[in-house]
Amino acid sequence: MVSYAYVVPLLPLFAFGLQSLFGRALGRATAWVGIACLAASTAVSLAVLAEVLRGAEAAVSWPWLSLGGATFSMGVRVGPLEAAMIAMVTFVSLMVEVYSVGYMAGDAKFNRFFAIVNLFVGAMLVVVLADNFLLLFAGWEIMGLASYLLIGHWYHDLANARAATKSFLVTRLGDIGLLIGIFVCYQAAGTLDFAVIDAGAASWAPGVATLAALLIFAGAVGKSAQVPLHVWLPDAMAGPTPVSALIHAATMVAAGVFLVARTYPVFEASGTALAVVAVVGGVTAFLAATVGTVQADIKKMLAYSTISQLGYMMLGLGVFGYAAALFHLLSHAFFKALLFLGSGSVIHAARGEQDMHRMGGLFRKLPLTGLTFIVGGLALAGIPPFAGYFSKDEVLLTAWENERWLFWLGAATAGITGFYIARGIYLTFFGRPRDAELYTHAHESPPVMAVPLVVLAVFAAFFGWLGSASLGRLVQAFLALPGEAEPEAAWYAAASTIALAAAGVVAGGLLYGAARPELRAHLVRVLRPVYVLFREKWYFDHLALGATGLGLAASAFVGWFDRTVVDGLVNAVAWFTGVLGQASRRLAVGDAQAYMLTMAGAVLVGLAALLGLGVSRP
């Protein structure tokens, strides 16, 4: 089975083909075509995982293009990392797609939605399974494209189309870095095959490895929404909620973390690069969590929580916690998908309302959604025995061993995480209903949406146990690199994390569940500077806006230069040459004479360059 792993991405892509060609004929059945293919893909993935668990590995490759010195091939490679990833991606995507049948039921572009979701999942699986940079980059690009269309799905609202463009362009910045990083690897290794790059990276010149790793990391920063390229992710919440669950929890944002894991030997060859990864991850985790505390929009809160959790994963990778980071990647996929789908269920019930301040008391109306959401929330907060606790704990323990201050940053983040998720849960599900009309009309979601919630909740609750010390750290042992040491259990470190997380949850619960609103208002007044800083997202959007503005200004300058300086120069030349200028003006065909004079100028520059700069020949 394991050597047939390549059908895993092909099945969703096949479904995409069917859906886009016969979407009209299939009608509503389009969704089920996609789900059937994805289910088959999931089954294959699980079978592959089962075999890999027993020690099987496989690498299949076909030559694709060969011209000149290099041969480019298309192939898949299946090891523990890939097997675990495809199982997670197909499974979570399947859940999301089933859920979407209910969530998107009334949508005018129902068919298109499902087709693109399948394209997206197929591309993500290509990224995971690719055995070389070329194929990985191919999947990476297609994934970006599909996410663009999904985020902009509800484009009748102009803001959504704008958000899609923003997300695409920001991730694109990172992609340029990735592409150049691939060049560096190609120059250094002479091939794009991961196997060769992995084997040789340790012997590259340190500068080369650092350069390659940092450029690749730029791509990961873009896709995984790390500081400072994180600005696109909260805006990307404009897409339908299942899209958020899919793209912003389980797949696309995880691809950045996966990319670092995939090219880990290159990072290991450079201490600098790993340090950068760790610091960027830690800082991102902290900043995003603080911003999460002041969000009113339930999805925006979850978006910042995603950025924060991805920061944890990067932090883990940066401090040599390869297995820990991937463990967190997997458990996060389950509980974050659950949280997003839960929030979708709430939004569905609230008929599109996303502001938590207008909700409240919904637990009575949505008991199932509420219950599963709380399970997801506790997993996110890292309260034992839910999944997030084990994986986050593992990451923080590794940080404790390697970089003490990053541990404290992460532990503080854990506290803040507990606070904001408790706040979110209380605002949404408990307290008095703040909007009577919304409350009266709220109703539990249909079974097609409820079942995925329950399934994911089970995983969010229990998946972590597989990595617990008492069960022999199964997940970490499975994923660990050869020779990777497991972090020593430092009970005081673990205890302080749990204590901080619990304190956060309790504080959030007390402040939003028990305390009177006046107290909150008072706190906001007292902590005004901090509050404003968080609300303004540490001014990163301004920074990004400034950078974009700078870019636009630069290109506007080029345009202005074309019009003014070039023309001005031309006019000056015309004036200077008097009669000739008058004669050329008489042509009076717009700018044609300016074009000609530019050509003449270019010829002069060329002559000056070749003769003046002294191309001296023997």
Binding site: S20, P63, W64, L65, S66, L67, G68, G69, A70, F72, L134, F137, A138, G139, E141, I142, L145, Y148, L149, G152, Y155, A161, A164, T165, F168, L169, R172, L173, D175, I176, L179, I180, F183, Y186, Q187, S555, V558, G559, D562, L587, V589, G590, D591, A592, Q593, A594, Y595, M596, T598, M599, G601, A602, V603, G606, L607, A609, L610, L611, V615, R617
Partner: protein
Amino acid sequence: MYNLTPILPEMALSLAGLALLLVAVAPSARRAGVAEGVALAGLIAALLLLPLAQGPTAGRTGEVLGGMVAVDGFGGFFRAVLLLGALVVVLTGARYVRARGIAAGEFYALLLFATAGADFMAIAADLLAFYVGLETLSLASYALAGFLVGERWSLEASLKYFLNGATASALLLFGLSLAFGLVGTTSLAGMAAGLASAPWGGAAGALPAVALVFILAGLAFKASVAPFHLWTPDVYQGAPTPVTSFLSIVSKGAALAAIVRVVAVGLAPLHVEWQPVLAVLAAFTMTAGNVAALWQKDVKRLLAYSSVAQAGYILAGIAVGTSLGLEAVLFYVLAYLFMNLGAFGVVMALSGEGEGETLEDLAGLARRAPVLAGLLALFAFSLLGIPWTGGFVGKLLIFEAALEAGWAWLAVFIAVNTGISAYYYFLLIRQMYLRSAPRAEAVRAGGMLGAGLALAALGVLALGILPQTVIDWSGLAAFAPLP
């Protein structure tokens, strides 16, 4: 008596062109249909005669017709590209020509003459043959650009093109005469040999470089290489869209082939000079094209700047100066043929109905014409270099060539430019897929237009998914004309 077999395709084109002149004045009610038929027949005949003209053994090199033309794989490949390009232009443009009431006989006659001229540029082994080909192409193009008689922009485009083109020709001729004066022969091979053994020193030592600059200037104009590209958007916008399409591929393709022939082969001993010059021009061209494209509201202007940028990528492959670079160029030109003609074909499908001129006209196209929108998306993706399209593989090969020859900075430039270009190609996608349509009526594209678009789409996908098959089948790797 010379053996005329090697130029049979061009003879077929010329005959068809002459026949079209007679069609133009024949009393006929269905003139446009007959003219299309004759033009297509001429082009297909030329394509069918091409293997015969190339001779029994592909890749055989030899100069025929008194050393005027070279029968080699490179020339054969480019002739195939140019003929195929003209064929797709006729297929996709026919509806536009009818809809705008363009005089079909003269239009297609000039198109075929221009194609024959372009062919000669691609196979020229002598400066004279090259220059005659260039002028045949140019004069016909000037007239073609002004074919929308009575439309101000078309006439202005024609005049601008002519004035600038004449200047560029003058620069080119000056350079050619200098080169001739240096070596005393018009044969390209003789020129290379002469320059290789020419004494370098004293004041005369600068002359080859001067000749190089002037020759490059003239060719850069035709290929829309910045800063000689300023005419491009004006002319592309004003000219009838089939002509724009023709200029963007046949005229530009011939100019790029000529750069390889005249500069990379004829001036091969000067590679120390022209490699950096071409590399800088390439970097400048792609940047100028992409940055300017960001601001365009008019689809044809946008595609004009896009094609400027594309020329930059291709030029980078030539600048690299290795045979791998040249193979990458050939592959890219083939991919560019399909994707650019396809994009213009979709624009023509719309503009034949009197729209499709501005980006706003594309709004919501996915609802009105899902197939057309999908095709334009495919072509835009290919121009951008999204995987599994011909453009992606072309860029990949150019990257590979640049990195292997140690031109890493050029590769980085292309990478960054690809990033910039994503913005405006996605503007097209966004208009079609993430906008509501201002009107509801569907756009149809059947018949010849549909066939042309299908051919282009097939080409883009075949080159993207099965590049090796295409490479093996065309024997592309054996085509390098480098000494």
